[in-house]
Symmetry: C2
Subunit: 448 residues, 2 copies
């Protein structure tokens, strides 16, 4: 049973290669089989989950684990269980992201080139506590035609093992190879897997910044994820007061622990005495601690006498608080705001509140982030809200995929060149004195 990391990586690659001729329907059927098997094995899963929970509760009692982690571990509520199963059905229903023709051109009579989307290959997904992520990620991998190796947090070991067994049992009865989904348990295995760049094509860490950052530093395999979620809201001189309050409060307080929550509020100096005090009031009423630079502090201190208003220190503008704390910075101009954001934000999502269409456009072009928003909360930066049907993760990288990533982030493409000519096609007959390339567009029909 206990394979080496190399064997696991090779088995994943072999499963991927063996799956190339599967149809979309076969992969969808495999997903439905997974759902059925999970339903069938509900008792076994919940029993394993209870073992994880007891072990975790002991650690909590000993002060070695936070109580919130136990809550994330728990699969026993009907709502959580059903939503896990519903997730499988939802992914099954999504459009297949593979076999889309994105470029088609005729190079010569009888010589046709097609660019066709296809899976990336083998994914290594590393996540933390929540065991249902096994099912979620396995569904996305099967749907998109990628093999996956999964590693969950050690607290969810028992649950993850049984969930993975359900998935593999279901796959064994389907057309998708069983080794499409493999689960590993230990950190040592992960270190060794991160070396297998010959067999593994993409690493997706889902979890804390510390985890993502550690992975990014430990492998040559491309990593898709975000190490920081340092989002800003900029209140322009032209900001509408009501919109400013709503957007700032929602961006900060709707779910402070999320990566798309705002950590910094940038305020134009012209509204320090008008809009800003109202926004500060709304934030304080929502329980937000404001860490203000001197101008933004001075303009609210006389009217506001809350313990929640404090002077900022310079590191506040580079801190992902993930709680009800917000750093406030006054700027002398729109351009200073943009420069400040480009320096301090993590290029995840930044919003402007403005009534100027011209400045809205300039902001969206000039701020170099995955999301640039106008009069809307940074919290909208999310795959489901964007309409992708699912979210693989959020990427602050600048290659492959950026921002919230749906199933499209799990595919790449290949070029298929078909000669239907009498003699086959050779390059030596083209060029000076020979044939010319036609490069005339073709209908994007699938060549296979």
């Amino acid at each position: 049973m206990s394979k080496s990391a190399l064997e696991i990586a090779k088995a994943a690659r072999a499963a991927f290669e063996a799956s190339q001729l599967l149809t979309s329907e076969q992969r969808t059927n495999a997903l439905l089989a997974v759902r059925d098997e999970l339903e069938r094995q509900k008792d076994a899963v919940l029993e394993a989950n209870r073992r994880d929970m007891s072990a975790a509760e002991e650690l909590v009692a000993a002060g070695k684990l936070s109580a919130s982690l136990v809550k994330r571990l728990d699969l026993s509520s009907t709502e959580k269980w059903n939503s896990m199963l519903q997730g499988v059905s939802d992914v099954a229903k999504l459009a297949d992201p593979t076999n889309k023709v994105t470029y088609a051109t005729k190079l010569d009579d009888g010589l046709e080139l097609y660019r066709v989307t296809c899976p990336i290959g083998v994914l290594l997904i590393i996540f933390e506590a929540r065991p249902e992520v096994v099912v979620n990620i396995a569904s996305l991998a099967i749907k998109s035609g990628n093999a996956a190796i999964l590693k969950g947090g050690k607290e969810s070991t028992e649950s993850a093992k049984v969930l993975a067994n359900c998935i593999r049992t279901a796959l064994a009865s389907s057309s998708v190879p069983e080794d499409y989904i493999q689960v590993v348990q230990t950190r040592e295995e992960i270190s060794e897997l991160l070396e297998q760049d010959k067999y593994i094509d993409l690493v997706i860490p889902r979890g804390s910044n510390a985890l993502v950052s550690h992975i990014q530093h430990s492998t040559r395999i491309p990593v898709m994820g975000h190490a920081d979620g340092l989002c800003t809201v900029y209140l322009d001189a032209s900001a509408d007061s009501a919109k400013a309050c709503r957007v700032a409060v929602d961006s900060k307080t709707n779910y402070p622990a999320a990566c798309n929550s705002a950590e910094i509020l940038v305020v134009h100096k012209d509204i320090l005495e008008s809009v800003w005090p109202r926004v500060a009031d709304a934030l304080v009423k929502a329980g937000v601690e404001l860490r203000c630079d001197e101008p933004s502090l001075t303009s609210i201190k006389p009217s506001q006498d809350s313990d929640l208003i404090k002077p900022s220190i310079s590191t506040d503008y580079d801190t992902e608080f993930l709680n009800l704390t917000m750093a406030v910075k006054a700027v002398a101009s729109f351009d200073e705001a943009v420069a400040f954001i480009n320096t301090h934000s993590s290029h995840h999502t930044d919003a402007i509140v403005t009534e100027s269409q011209e400045l809205a456009r300039r902001f969206c072009r000039s701020v170099d982030s995955a999301g640039t928003f106008v009069n809307a909360s940074t919290r909208f930066a999310d795959g489901l809200r964007y309409g992708f049907g699912t979210e693989v993760g959020i990427s602050t990288g600048r290659t492959h995929a950026r921002g919230p990533v749906g199933l499209e982030g799990l595919v790449i493409y290949k070029y298929v060149l078909m000669s239907g000519g009498q003699d086959g096609h050779v390059v030596g007959e083209f060029g000076t004195g020979g044939r010319a390339y036609q490069h005339s567009p073709l209908a994007p029909s699938l060549p296979y």
Copy 2:
């Protein structure tokens, strides 16, 4: 003048950020200014080039450098000079790859989401001898809106310096910041630049496999390139004899030093006595040394008595010969051929010769390479032949870009969310008991 690697990286990032509001026309005009300045400075460039040439010729005389390198250095032929300038004009004329809307959806009344292509940021391009690559790559960077740091081979130092000065002089008179294009000279600078993942977004090594492989092992920044070009041609049982000869000979001999040349020929056992001897004859006549496994050797040895036919050793099937040598492998079945190719090819480009449409399709789906070709030479794998107008490089990676990469490989995208509502938009009003996301498609018009 001598900036540290960190200062260079920061200057590139600042230039990139300062360029966000430039129009397509302004970038095109900058390119035309570059061309003009190069024409104006032709004498100075050629003089610098002569200094590089003399130094290189001395090294050749001392046996320390190959003569072919001197040829690659030389800019003085009218053809080479003109083609360098024409390259700038050609890139100027290409379609702007930025500001294309690739997804647009209405989330709510007055809340519109757009995905818009945009430059990646700062590119680090490392290349070897040919000095005109400075001009070529600078053109691609300016056209696509990316800042670039360039490092050429030390043999072309003088030429590269003067070419870079021309480009920067031209930029200084244009709307594009001068620091958009910077040239560094030493290996030490490169090592330090490869550490600057905060400021540099993509490394593109153009040159030998050794160079690419070294870079891939030396940085956390994403690398776009190909470390190997191990392409195969598979002659199926159904192969047409004439097509087999043409495709095999062109794939091997059209330009043996190129990464898209074939190194391995895979032959189905059923044609070892029929098609294969003719193909072997054609290859030998073209001067190709054949390294054959036992079955493929046995079937041609009686009729062919050439010194060019030899038994193979196992490493021949993992070697990028880059010359007129080809490893030959007989297989018992189509499936064995596919498995062999997936194991031994570098996933660059692989071709099948077959008269079976069904096997052609299966080959293209099952072979897990950037290019899968039917009855066509592997040498077609090239950005210009594919119709991209230019080639940034060829990628054997499986994320971001795969295969020949045109200007599209130098862009990513950002999400722009625009609220035109009365009150701005907040997430807290959506979800259970609140508003539902509409996700209705919008016309893909540019939001800024």
